[in-house]
């Protein structure tokens, strides 16, 4: 997998911490691989919205990657609850179901961005970089983000 310029936190130069929420173990593994290629660290995983809420409170991640269609509690409701408790939460929706109503609902509930599956690592990297830079969490890296050899 392509390696990207590592995104690190501006204040302590540590790896960006991620919470990955998806009911598919396989999808979580695939996203974890991408996060690894971004120089990040997965600090928590959840397979449904309820677990995501408790995992967020436990792990205090820098950013959350959240699926929409999940059993028990769907991603959009989980976003609403997490943002209600933690207004600074940075959540990026990652879903195969990308119709406008869904995207709009997620953004209205406090999600910062949306990525449609199948996820392209370059697109996800750019979105994460944008969301984190916007909040001053990471120091900007060069456009494209590919590691120089």
């Amino acid at each position: 997998m392509k390696q990207f310029e590592a995104l690190t936190r501006k204040n302590d130069h540590q790896a960006v911490r991620y919470l990955v929420v998806d009911d598919s173990v396989f999808a979580r593994k695939s996203l974890a691989k991408m996060i690894e290629s971004f120089g990040g660290q997965v600090v928590g995983e959840a397979g449904d919205g309820c677990t995501a809420i408790t995992e967020y409170a436990r792990s205090k991640p820098d950013i959350v990657l959240m699926d929409i269609t999940m059993p028990q509690m769907e991603g959009i409701e989980a976003v609403e609850r997490i943002v209600h408790e933690h207004p600074d939460a940075r959540i990026v929706m990652v879903s195969s179901v990308g119709y406008q109503d869904n995207i709009l609902a997620a953004l209205q509930k406090g999600a910062r961005h949306f990525v449609q599956k199948p996820v392209k690592p370059d697109a996800l990297y750019e979105i994460i970089r944008y969301v984190l830079n916007d909040d001053g969490v990471t120091a900007p890296v060069g456009a494209g983000g590919e590691k120089s050899r």
Binding site: M1, D23, S24, V25, F26, A27, K29, S30, K33, T69, M70, P71, S95, S96, V97, G98, Y99, Q100, D101, N102, Q116, K117, P118
Partner: protein
């Protein structure tokens, strides 16, 4: 079955396979099946309810599924590995999610449920009077079958329209 409802699923599978397998997939067979469905490889199903109701089954030869798993994990995956059914589930999620997105943006309202791995060899028909369309895609690593069984509820659509107008 209405072809305009099926076309987004065909286009979505074609696009996702091309992305994941880095090789062309072509339709080699199309059949209509009024009875149940016999699983051919590793399969997952997704159910949806609303103006369009039904079920889509994605059924892959293990070699084709292994190729997709290798792409998604960035490493070599054996066709016998336990992650293969999970791979098909995730692929079904992507294919059907993308198709549903297109249909929803055209004005069809319905809810999609999470994909489930099909473990039994024989699946029952999706419902009374619902005939399935089965498409077989040929890829360099094996065949991929898409079983689409759905009904369009025009009445619900009209009811929705009349509520909107009033």
């Amino acid at each position: 079955m209405r072809m305009d409802l099926i076309q987004p699923f065909i286009g979505s599978l074609d696009a996702v396979l091309a992305e994941m397998m880095k090789a062309p997939a072509r339709i080699v067979d199309l059949t209509m099946e009024p009875e149940g469905y016999r699983r051919k490889g590793a399969a997952a199903s997704v159910v949806f309810r609303g103006q369009i109701e039904g079920r889509v089954v994605l059924d892959m030869d293990p070699g084709a599924a292994a190729q997709v798993a290798s792409f998604l994990t960035g490493g070599e995956v054996n066709p016998n590995e336990p992650m293969i059914p999970e791979t098909v589930c995730e692929l079904a999620n992507m294919v059907i999610g993308n198709a549903v997105t297109q249909l929803n943006d055209r004005g069809f309202q319905f809810k999609v449920f999470p994909p489930e791995i099909l473990t039994q060899e024989q699946c029952e028909a999706a419902g009374q009077d619902s005939e399935a369309t089965i498409l077989c895609f040929e890829t360099p690593n094996g065949n991929v079958h898409l079983n689409i069984s759905m009904q369009y509820h025009a009445r619900r659509s009209r009811e929705r329209s009349s509520v909107t107008v009033s």
